[in-house]
Each structure stands twice: as structure tokens, then as C-alpha cells.
Symmetry: none
Subunit: 196 residues, 4 copies
DNA sequence: GATGAATGAGTATTCATTCAT
DNA sequence: GATGAATGAATACTCATTCAT
């Protein structure tokens, strides 16, 4: 049980790296097992299909990210910073630029798409909770919180993809977010320094 | 040359329909030629590759949509309605729900993605022009127009896909758009009746 | 040893049911152990190979059928009825039509074939004995008994398979059997009521 | 068109030989194309699937055999000899013992089974016609001709398979056939010299 | 302009069997 | 007696592309 689980985790890590590097569709099972140094049968002993592997890879990734997000929420930080921090938790680090690029690369649409959907389901409630706290504290002022949060998530993920973005994009983004959440101008300005 | 062009247009139509119905990746060249009743060689006489076919299919689609958009711009309508009308031109009709569904279906991510990118390039300048007119007329009030327009386009396309959306989604969308463009509350309220 | 034997009998029953339902070749060892709720290793502890399992399944089946045939022979019945009764013992009951159908289904040729060969070896001597009694009693009249019996067995099994057969098939069968055994016309007529 | 058809016939011949030599299930597509010296794609250009290849192989075989049978029927021969000749047409020559053996070999059940079914459908009407002629000529005397012919076919094919058969088997077979067709004793005795 | 036969690299998945624990 | 992780050969089928005619 121990042994089996451990091996499976390793496999997930390897698959994760490969899917993200070369794209899900461009990664064959043959390549995965070669990289992992295991037999075909071993792969199919652990995963029912390649698609299920993708599913599990994404879940694993999101679990890790969610854990990080929880840490951010528990930290001693102003609400707006927390909001941005949580969103950032669900984006690959700056240090892992390769991954960001990869997720948005044309050969990775499948994975990107699946990730995006699952990610929104997880992140929206967390951020919504933060926004509510912000409202209580008088920092934000708005209704229909989950819908607004959804919009912010969409913008963050679609706007800042690999294609590249300008200073103006960031500036407008900050502006829009402030008005979406009903925050005083400048509340989210710190984002400019983070991304810019 | 005439005849050849005509034949090619037919092929594009057929490919368009098939790509959208079953997805780009799920449509094989064999299936296309069978549907079209032509030989393999003939297909490759007209198109250098399957990917180029997709490219041309999308261009053909966008050309038709852009033509429609130009008509909307030339029409006698208030600016806000024009803005929405142009955006709608680039979305498949309500009457063609199948197509909307199809474009967002999981097996169609490739085509959806490619379309989305090209579409934004074309639509942003058109809408930007409208927004400028709106500013001159005192209806809108904002700077960094293209960036703001880009945001609106992203939201329109990501928010209202096949998954389904709520009344509240629409309400918030209207609200956000108004603040993005610096319009008086209610300016874009007519959208609610259009989509709701 | 007790326990082991019991477990093995259960496994044979399960394998029997699965082989007959889905065909030998379409039943994987994985499916058998899942159904039985045991581990791979346990299966291979009891059986040297999948083919040996089939062999044992067939033997088990034939043992049960032979036992039934012996009971028929010991019963108080006219010889012709006994002959037919013994043959019927080796055919799945009418109540188990599924099994008859299954044994003749295209996916079950392997099992059907193996069963048929082994079955003939067992049944021919039993029926031959009956025919000899019949000759002594003046009901039948023929030489080369085992060869004639073999023919009857072949006909019974090939003629009345799942494909379906007509009234005329039965009628001719009765006629042919009577002449093969040198019986008076009508001796075997009761078959018509049994099968017809 | 010419060229394509010719190539396909060659492929059928090769597949026929291989299926019969090593069994349908033991012959992989890879082996066929290697033997034929063609590419995988070429094989699948000509045949939709391996199973369809088998189907076509059998049809080709039966076509050839039926042609031979027609020749026998047109020949100048006594009816009983024709009956036996036609049946023999549908059995591989003595010279091709390998094939007979092969068709009955355990690894060839699938092909044997499929062949047998299709063969009966074709041969029964032909022989029935001959039997009718024999009845007119007073050589045979029976009703329910197709049913009786079916029985003869079954016996001929099941009795004389690779397992081996004895002189007595043949003798009884002759006897049974005569009584099935209502022929005078000795009418079919020539069979003994043919097979024995 | 058009045909269609030929290509061959690529792919996911199955499955009976082994063996260290 | 029992487990279950690991094996790896085997298999049928897909598909975009080429090119001689």
C-alpha cells in the first residue's frame, strides 16, 4: 500500500512535468514510461487511462495550490493583498515561467482548458470569502460577490497569459478591479509593482 | 480558376461545418473528402495541410462576421447598441445555438482557441473606434480604450459560453461594462433584455 | 486443504459462469478475480494458467452432467427414452437457454469446441451400452454401435444449436435416427413432442 | 482500378495462406503486411479491418470452390458420384492435407466455424438439386430433401476431420447416407474406395 | 485540375504471468 | 495460503501526407 502509493505519486509528478512541458496530447504513454523507467503494464496498473492520468495530475496540482492559498489566507496581511496573493497562489510562480508559458502554449490548450475550469470552481469561494471580509472592514463595497469574483478570475487568467501584456494592460486591470469590488482608487495599486 | 475557386469555397464550407460539428481534431481528412465527394489528391491540391484548412476556415468565418459588423456600424443606432451589436456579430446567432455549443464543447478547444485569438485582433479596433465616438458624444468617458475594449471582449466570450450563466451574471456584467467604459448607470441595461 | 478446495470450487463456478456468459477469450483473469474478490496471486495459486482453468471448468461441468446421465440410466424407463434422456443430460436444460445460446454464440467457439470433443468421448460409451441393451431387447437392430452413436451425437449437437431449427428438421432427425439404429418407424417419435 | 484490384487479390491470397497455416487469431496484421511487403496503411487502405479480411478470404475461397462444384455438376457422371464430387469440391484436396488439418486444428476454430456456416448455405441448394434429379431417375427416394442434405453435409464435415477416422466410420457413413437418401444398398459404396 | 494507391510513424490499451513479501 | 505490484510482448487501428499517372 505504502509502496504502491509512493510510486504513483512519483508517476504523477513525472506526468505533470511532461504534460506541462510538451503538452498533454504531445506526450505519449510510451514517453512517460520511458522517462519513469517503468513498464507499460505498471503504468496501466496505476492509471486506468491516459485521460484519467491528466485528471489526477490536475487535481494534484490544484491541491498543492489550494494548500498554498490557505496559507496566504491565514497570514497577517491586508485583505487586498490577500486577494491578490490567493489568486497568485493558483498561478505558477514567476520562477516557473516555463510552466506559465507552457500552460498557455498552443499545444497545451487541452490541459489549460481543463485546469482553468476546475481552478475556477475552487478559487471562487475562497476569494469570495475574502471579499466579504473586505466589505465588513469597509475596504470593498459591492453585491453579487461570487459573480464579480468570477469576472476577476477570468480577467487575471486570460489577460496575463504568455502572449505578453503591457503596462497599460496592468493599469487598466487595476482600475477595473477596483471598480468591480467597489474599492477606493489606489486600493489595488500595489499590483502594478507586483506584476509590472 | 473560377471553377477551382468555387470548388474551394464549397470545400471550406464543408470543412467549416464538420470542424464545428465534430471538432477539428475529430474530423479526419478522409471524412472531409468523403463528405465532399472528392479524392484525397484533390483535397491536397486545394490545401497544403489540414491545419491550413482550419486557418482558412476561420478566416472565412471571420470575414463573414466582420462584414456583418460593418453593417451594424453603418446602421442608424445609438452607440451603445452598436457596441453590443458588433460584439454579437462575432458570436454565432442565437439561431445557430448548435454552433455556439459546439465551439465551447470540450472536443473543440483547438478551434475555439484559434478563433478567439484571431477574433480579438479584428474586433478590438472596430469597437475601439465606436467607443471613441461614444466619448465624443459624451456617452462614455475613459482612457486606454483598446485595453478596456479587450477586457470587455474577454468577458463577453468567457462569461457566456455553453456552460450556462445566470441572470446575476448578466446583471453584474452590465454593471462592470458601464464602469469600464465610464458610462452612466443604465446605459447598457438594454443588454439584459437581449441576453436574459 | 479443505478450505482451499472449497475456495477452488467457488472459483470454478465463477469462472464457469463468466466463460459461458461472455466467452472464454473475452473473460480476462482480471475480471475473474474481481468477480471472485480475490487477488491475482491467489488465482495463480489455484490454477497454473487460464487455459487450465478452462479445462477444469469443462471437466467439472461434464462431471455434473455425467452424474445426471447415470441417474437417467438407472431410472425405470424404456430404452429409447433413456437414450434421449442421456443425450439431453449433456445438453444444458431448456431452463438454462441462456447457456445453450451462449455456448453456440460466436464468441464462444473456443469453449464450445473443447466441450464438444470431451463430451463425445464420455457420452459415446454410455449410449453405446444402452443401444446394446436395446438390441438385446429387440428394439434396435444394428452393428458398429459406437460409430453409429457418434453420428447421432454429432447430429444432435450440430443440428439443434442456437441458430434455430424447423419442425421438419426434427422430423427428419427422428427418421434418420431410427434408420441408423435399425428401429421400427415411430420408435423415436416421442422426440418430436420433447423438442418440437 | 486494375492495379488496385490486383494488389488486393494478392493480399487476399497471402492472408488466406496465413490464416489457414497459423490460424486467424494467431496471425497479426503486422505479420501479414511483412509477408506481403507492404505498409500498414496499404493494408488498411484495402481492408477496413482484420475481421473483414477474414470474411473476404472465406468468400474468395468459397467462390473458387463453388466454381469447381459447378464443373462437377456439368460433368458426365452418375448422380451419386456427382453428389460426392460436389461435397468434395468444398473440402480441400487430399493434396492440400495441410489445409484440412489446419482448418480443424484447435487454433483455427474461428475460421473453421465461419467457413462451415457459410459453406452450408451455399452447398445445400446445389446438392439438393442433384438429389432431386436422382429421385427423378429412381436412384434416390426421399422427402424433405434440404433437411436431409444438411444432415449429410454436417456428417461429412464433422466426421472426417483431422482427428482421424476409421474404416468402420466410413462404412457406417455410407450406410447412413444411403438410408437418408433412400438409395439401394451399395449405391454409395464407391465412397469407401475414395476415402478409405 | 484531379485521382487514388501507397506510406509508415504513431497511439492507447490489453493481458496472462511472475514473484518478493 | 494469500497478496498485489510489476512486467513487457502483443495488437489493431489512425491519419496526414506524397506522388506517379
Amino acid at each position: 500500500m505504502r509502496k504502491g502509493e509512493k510510486r504513483k505519486q512519483e508517476l504523477l509528478q513525472i506526468a505533470y512535468r511532461m504534460f506541462i512541458t510538451r503538452g498533454y496530447e504531445n506526450t505519449s504513454v510510451d514517453e512517460i514510461i520511458e522517462e519513469a523507467g517503468i513498464a507499460k503494464g505498471t503504468y496501466y496498473y496505476h492509471f486506468p487511462s491516459k485521460e484519467q492520468t491528466l485528471e489526477q495530475v490536475i487535481d494534484m496540482m490544484l491541491d498543492a495550490q489550494e494548500e498554498h492559498a490557505r496559507a496566504v489566507m491565514a497570514a497577517d496581511m491586508p485583505i487586498p493583498q490577500k486577494v491578490v496573493g490567493v489568486i497568485a497562489s493558483f498561478r505558477p510562480d514567476a520562477s516557473e515561467t516555463t510552466i506559465t508559458d507552457a500552460l498557455h502554449a498552443p499545444e497545451n490548450i487541452v490541459m489549460h482548458d481543463k485546469t482553468e475550469r476546475k481552478l475556477r470552481e475552487r478559487i471562487v469561494p475562497i476569494i469570495s470569502e475574502l471579499v466579504e471580509q473586505g466589505i465588513e472592514e469597509g475596504i470593498f463595497n459591492c453585491k453579487d460577490i461570487p459573480e464579480r469574483v468570477k469576472i476577476i478570475i477570468i480577467l487575471a487568467s486570460e489577460l496575463f497569459d504568455a502572449e505578453g501584456f503591457t503596462q497599460t494592460d496592468v493599469k487598466v486591470f487595476v482600475d477595473v478591479i477596483e471598480s468591480i469590488l467597489g474599492a477606493k482608487p489606489g486600493t489595488m495599486a500595489f499590483i502594478t509593482q507586483l506584476i509590472g
